[in-house]
């Protein structure tokens, strides 16, 4: 059982994700506002983070950058889930240290789950 933090502002998406992940047996914490992201992660110390880019308040890139600069938090694997997929953005995300990136509209939750499991396994 792993702890996963989902940072996503869309309620429907977050609900589906949470449901699927909990059915897998993981503990899921959901943050909808960017400003609360880092604090929640610090608090819950998850094994994985699913991070959206477009958020109210602080955006995903800023959060990603902040996390990777933090000594404690930089080890946590982060999968960026966004919907823009602009080349420039993807490069930036990779540069900042996210382990993977996917476009929500092009993936179904099952596929996302596979990636999650992969990274959780690796992380062990």
């Amino acid at each position: 059982m792993k702890t996963i933090v989902v940072v996503e502002d869309d309620e429907v998406l977050a609900e589906v994700l949470q449901k699927k992940l909990e059915l897998q047996g993981h503990k899921v914490f959901w943050v909808a506002h960017g400003d609360l992201g880092v604090a929640e992660i610090r608090d819950k110390n998850p094994d994985l983070v699913l991070l959206d880019i477009h958020l109210p308040g602080k955006n995903g890139l800023e959060i990603l950058s902040e996390l990777k600069q933090d000594e404690q938090l930089k080890k946590i694997p982060i999968i960026v889930i966004s919907n823009s997929g602009e080349k420039v953005e993807v490069e930036k995300i990779k540069e900042l240290g996210a382990v993977d990136h996917l476009v929500k509209a092009n993936f179904v939750p099952e596929e996302l789950l596979e990636k999650v499991n992969k990274f959780l396994q690796n992380h062990e």
Binding site: L13, N83, V108, E110
Partner: protein, 708 residues
Amino acid sequence: MSIFTKKKINLPLVSALFARFLPGKRDVVISSSFFTVFLFFLGIILVLANILWLLPALEAIQGTITQNHFTVASRARESVDQFFNFNVVYLRTLASDIGSNPLTVRQELEISMRDNVAFQRLTFLNQEGFEVSRIDRFGFEALESASRKAEEAVIVAFSGESFIGPVFFEKGEPLTTIYVPIMTERREVIGVLESQLRFRTVWNAMETISRESGSRVFLVDNEGTRVADPDPSVVLQRENLMVRDVVRTIVGPGKDVALSLAQGVYEDENGTSVFGVGVPYKKLGWGVFVETPADALFSARNKIIFLFILGTFILLVIVLWSSSRVTNLVNSLDEKRRQTNAIISHLTDGLIQYDKDFAVILINDTAERLLGVRSDDILGRIFSPKDSKKKEWSSLVGVLFPVIAEDAHIVSSGDKETKITELKIEYPVARDLQVVTVPVTDEEGGTGSYLKVIRDISYEKVIARAKTEFLSLAAHQLRTPLSAIKWTLDFLLGKDAEPLTEEQRKFLEGAFASNDRMIKLIDALLNVSRIEEGRFGYEFEPGDIVSLVENIISGLMPISNKAGVALKFTKPELVIPPLMFDKERMRFAIGNLIDNAVRYSRKDASDSFVTVAVRDTEDFVEVEVSDNGIGIPQEHVPHLFEKFSRAVNAQKATSEGSGLGLFIVKNIIVRHGGDIRVESQENRGTHFIVTIPKDPTKIPPAEKTFEE
């Protein structure tokens, strides 16, 4: 504006001259008003030069005229002198004959009278002055009874000198008298010989010389009275000519004895203007005068003066006319330049002209403003990339040498001669500029200078950026609810949700598919808009096309299996060297073609296949996607690569498909310098053949807006 200020013209020759002395300055100008003044003074100088020639010529003519008259006068004088000399000598001889033998006086006189036809009368006066013997033409005559020794002539003769008397008239005949002393051998004066001579000979001589010379030659005595003239009637008038300066100078009491001639222009007795030259006959104090009517005489001189005046006049007219022409020309040139200036300075784009050495020839107001320079500081100066160090010139140098400018990239154009570059400048403010470089060809076809047309595209750039951001945001905003729908439906259709009825499943699957189409449509729209804006963002890298195709095929295998289509790959025999391409885009393009081939296979057939082949020709790599599917109707083929274009049979086969795929595919292939063509037959099959050039230089330099 700089060079083209008021009233200046450019004389290439002069400016080349000046350029030697002012290195670094290229165009020196002369003011047109200076030019006019210059021409005017040139005209004056020429006129003065004309005069320089004229005066000596006139003098020479005058001299010749005078000389000619002098010669004639001298000749006339000579003949007068001969007359008197001859007769005086004759009389002296006669006198001495008489003197040595006084008793023979009568005979001697007789003989002399016979001998010398000039004599009219000869008279012998004795010591007391009484006439002793007298003979005239017709014989001996009665003698005067009174003594004549009081007469002046007699007195002079008695003193031993000969005396020549004035000219007088007797019965209309001109006569003159000569008195000579009669002396013995011992030089004792024993008498005076008086002779009256006919003066007509002299008259005849004057007449002859006049006739020969074409002038009027006459004789004037020491009192200024005319004594000989070609016209005898004039002499008879006994006119005194002392009023004339010429006469007065020669024979008057105040005459200059050293003077050898006098000349002048005056009116003769008829009122005719004449030119007269007089020479003195010093023996008698008489004067010989030669007159010629001034008009005829000076006709030559007058002609010359007239020619001179005419010539000068014509010259002046020419000078004035040509200078006014030049002024007009210059003014009209000025006018044209003013107009051009006005246009150039009012251009909303910046304009710079520079030569091969990168010396700035011209810069308009807008360019000055955009680049933060002043024309006075930079005109004529030769620039090099080093000058970018100076902040004030950094923007100008960036425009002149885009290679070193910030963020400079070439935007290609159709015309090979013209180059369009976009770059950023920081001074005087941050701007995005578009710089068009155009070579200026001269008459011979060579390139003498270049133009830079500078446009501030900061606004356009801002708009473009805004558009991009808007599109990204729009895409994202659209995708988010679509993702939500997708995931929700997926959950319901998946194992984690409660089981569904057949009907529920069918509808939910339909909803899922529709939603997916929407997502794909948005993707395609986004790509198309990026292509049209030239922002598709190609990145070319060397790669292995064969392994890419393999990878695509393996990725599509599940779909082809599901559709019951056999997907095969024909590898080339030999290894293809690395090709320059954008991996992501090429994957999309080839994947799209294969996906289409699978999608448009014949549903009722069991032997549907899609074959992909990669071939290596000398200059190209060919990728062929062949199928035995529904084919493309002939009438649709021309529209195949247009936006939103789907053939009728394709629409029937599946409602899926945006009609954008092939548009994007073609763009990708063209962007690689390649080409795509299709061969197809309805209900038989389709071949798509993609050719990509191996030579990376064939890749077009920049993103063009795709023209369908």
